[in-house]
Symmetry: C2
Subunit: 311 residues, 2 copies
């Protein structure tokens, strides 16, 4: 271990196994076994941001802007993952958006009304909600969606490793769709104060964060070498985006990078492979109709995953 970046083994050794880890591990294992027996493909969709605690008894942490829009939409697409013979493990940041319920988050109290002895959804919202609820019930009935939550970076990485290793049992039928926004930096446990950092001293707060080891490397090489792996690259500077996507493919040897810019990520992404750069765009008209770019992203990936399985 150099002074500035730990390798993956150091990282896992330095961080405690998360709470309820073995319970989550068993849930994922059973889920994959079950769908393996049926012959289903399984996609792991990771979603939301990871926290990086600044104190052991954590009051403060570093986070990022993600609320899980991309991941929760992608995990849901009824015409796609879930109805193309895929079961979904949704590995998501606690309290970020979730498939189906994401449609209900805003102004929920205003959608309900008391009618005699019952509480019902107001007429205006009934038809859209009915269709979402029916999709959700269908997915539950067939046990096609397993949601597993995380909060911190360490929890996420322990669960990512476990799920990748579990998914390798279904070889090329596994798709990893890594949409979570994972921190690049962290504070190792031995460098972290136990108690809340005090502000009474009239000094600036100096924080020194180490690089998180790049987990895509062991994921592709060791944990799930047979799987189809899709990573995401988010930047704010258009000039470096594609270069960074290509460099990731070269470094980690996985199949696809979805490259996107912070400001335009809901309307424009580029699907980058070693050989091709395919822009995917959502027009203003389609967006106004309520369509989402995730539909086309997922469609493209399913086609490529099919090809990958067959070849």
């Amino acid at each position: 271990m150099s002074a500035t970046s730990a390798n993956k083994d150091d990282f896992f050794a330095q961080t405690a196994v998360p709470e309820r880890f073995s319970e989550k591990y068993e849930l994922m294992k059973e889920f994959v076994s079950k769908h393996r027996a049926i012959g289903n493909r399984v996609v792991l969709v990771s979603s939301g941001g990871t926290t990086v605690p600044l104190e052991s008894r954590t009051v403060r942490f570093i986070d990022n802007f993600s609320i899980g829009t991309r991941g929760s939409a992608s995990a849901e697409y009824p015409l796609y993952f879930l109805q193309h013979g895929y079961a979904v493990i949704f590995l998501y940041r606690l309290r970020s958006l979730e498939p189906y319920s994401r449609h209900l988050q805003r102004r929920l109290m205003d959608m309900l009304e008391v009618k005699g002895d019952s509480v019902t959804v107001k007429h205006d919202h009934t038809s859209s909600l009915k269709s979402i609820l029916q999709q959700y019930e269908g997915v539950k009935a067939k046990d096609l969606l397993l949601s597993i939550d995380f909060t911190s970076l360490a929890e996420y990485l322990h669960l990512l490793r476990a799920s990748a290793q579990i998914l390798n049992a279904i070889h090329s039928k596994a798709l990893l769709y890594l949409a979570a926004a994972v921190s690049d930096f962290y504070i190792p446990k031995h460098e972290m104060p136990e108690h809340k950092i005090q502000s009474s001293t009239d000094k600036p707060l100096q924080l020194s964060l180490q690089l998180v080891p790049k987990m895509l490397k062991p994921l592709v090489k060791e944990w799930a070498p047979d799987a189809f792996v899709v990573s995401f690259k988010l930047e704010t500077d258009r000039n470096i985006l594609i270069k960074k996507a290509l460099s990731a493919l070269d470094k980690y040897q996985h199949q696809v990078v979805i490259a996107n810019l912070l400001d335009t990520r809901k309307y424009e992404v580029v699907l980058v492979t070693k050989e091709t750069e395919k822009p995917i765009l959502l027009s203003k008209e389609d967006s106004d109709k309520g369509l989402e770019i995730e539909e086309e992203i997922v469609k493209q990936l399913i086609a490529r995953h099919k090809h990958f399985i067959e070849s």
Copy 2:
């Protein structure tokens, strides 16, 4: 301005006026005018954590663990603030818990069912939801609750100053209940990189954060000198808690500090004034019955505020 801490004027000068600020300002102003005419008291409840951006085009930020439990419960208490002749301005972190809807956040999809042409709440949940919904409708009908959202530290402080200044118009009838978890540190604009910090260089990330000027001082002295002001002190170390609460009262000359520890904050707080330390406890039995400690906190404060107005 010293190298390490800005004064409040520097802070406001360095940070842009938040988006939709004037709209929010007008909403608060009208709300206070209206309730002033009726003779109502008005409480400002601040709730949730503030973000501290690390980049101008923000991907990463420092946050804290608060999800607005204390604030959203306190703003709601139907037998207390809202039914004791108080109107409530709820200044809250976007996507944190809100009064009333906080009861619905978990497993919402599982509470609903399709029944013929309508979507209704399942029988098990009807009675609790009905009562919450009726309270919510009553509060809406009387316009007793105004919700104003913020995300960043700068947004929060601009809105806090504005609301305090507006509330000073009702003098001692204003109560400020500052439950938001406000960052002590920030990165001034001129020290912040524009783009997402790159992790490709094999170096630790060094962050230097400055102290946020203590806004309670100008709040008590200049913005709302006639109001009853309650601040919160959260620590992880029991040994320094009361000492820090007393030192805040001495420094800022406001009326009450609610002191609490991270681990026990839902069962135990101490209401600290210059003269008294009153512990408020919630027993295991009461907690199991669904009671919340905020009920007793608010009750105690209303009594003290009444005394403050009369004297």
